[in-house]
Symmetry: C2
Subunit: 182 residues, 2 copies
């Protein structure tokens, strides 16, 4: 942030009074512009023993497989955002089963909230951001063609949970050094 | 957002190509400025059968009781943010037990992530944003002096869970009409 979004003057990168870290502060109107992590919400959708993945039609990671997920919008709940993204990317309307994976990626200031959700019928299709959508059993998952480390870790948990028959919440952190190993 | 934070030109409120909702778009450099929900992270800290509350020294809701929580910062995990806020507001260093309440407040575009956390000793003290900190048993909770609806709902769940001896994740939504009834 170079310019104040309220008044258009230049900003300075300084620690405000009563704070302990630098912020963008307007040199004219003195507004403090905070920057905060972004939420990405989506679903791990299953139909019987299969999980629904989307092949990305957009960058980054064009052509690789991911869970339907995207940036949460203002004015919606986390669950509403997860279902909206699942419709937009995979044209599926599953039933939510609860939060399944909470993943923090501090080096890019993102938090993923992936809800588990189930389909009554294998109805899905690629939305505009997907090349294709497909249901995979655990042994069919395209591990070598996954888009993101968070997708890999969430699917790894799901494969284990499926064999045990229980799906507790997973709290996952991803470090920058893990990113390269997707 | 009236001015572009990248170039200082004025912005327009329009639906970008390939999007379905209006964004702030720069009239000069054409950058699309997205606005997204903010995360507030904190802890429900217990010591034996007591819960730790803070009396707010700041607006809004000055003088009312709350859980230690605040805006998640860039560069930290959700758990790190929850522990940082607990230290800053209640000068307590509890052990995290896992995510306990995920609350969406869509009308102000906030998501609360409250982790359950336990203290080995009743060590706490007010930080700069608190007037006092205090441990309360379930029947001592100051229900008439709570700061936020999300605090009320989270504490209500905790009282029930304590009587049952199990603490599952709670997914909570708060509507604008509920806000008035804090
Ligand atoms: Zn300004
Ligand atoms: Zn611009």
């Amino acid at each position: 942030m170079t310019y104040c979004s309220d008044c258009g003057a230049t900003t300075e990168w300084q620690v405000p009074p009563d704070d302990n870290r630098p912020r963008h502060i307007c040199s004219a109107c003195h507004t403090i512009h905070y920057e905060n992590p972004k939420i990405i919400c989506g679903c791990l959708v299953t139909y019987n023993d299969q999980v629904l993945l989307c092949r990305r039609a957009i960058e980054p990671r064009h052509g690789l497989w991911t869970l339907p997920a995207g940036f949460m919008e203002n004015g919606e709940t986390a669950a509403e955002g997860a279902l909206r993204e699942t419709w937009e990317e995979a044209m599926a309307r599953p039933t939510l089963q609860g939060l399944y994976a909470l993943t923090s990626i501090p080096y890019i200031s993102q938090v993923y909230m992936i809800f588990r959700a189930t389909l009554d019928a294998p109805e899905h299709a690629p939305g505009p951001e997907s090349l294709e959508t497909q249901l995979f059993t655990a042994d069919q998952i395209p591990w070598d063609e996954l888009a993101f480390q968070t997708v890999r870790k969430t699917l790894t948990q799901w494969v284990q949970d499926q064999s045990r028959g229980s799906y507790p919440l997973h709290e996952i952190d991803i470090t920058e050094s893990e990113r390269a190993r997707v």
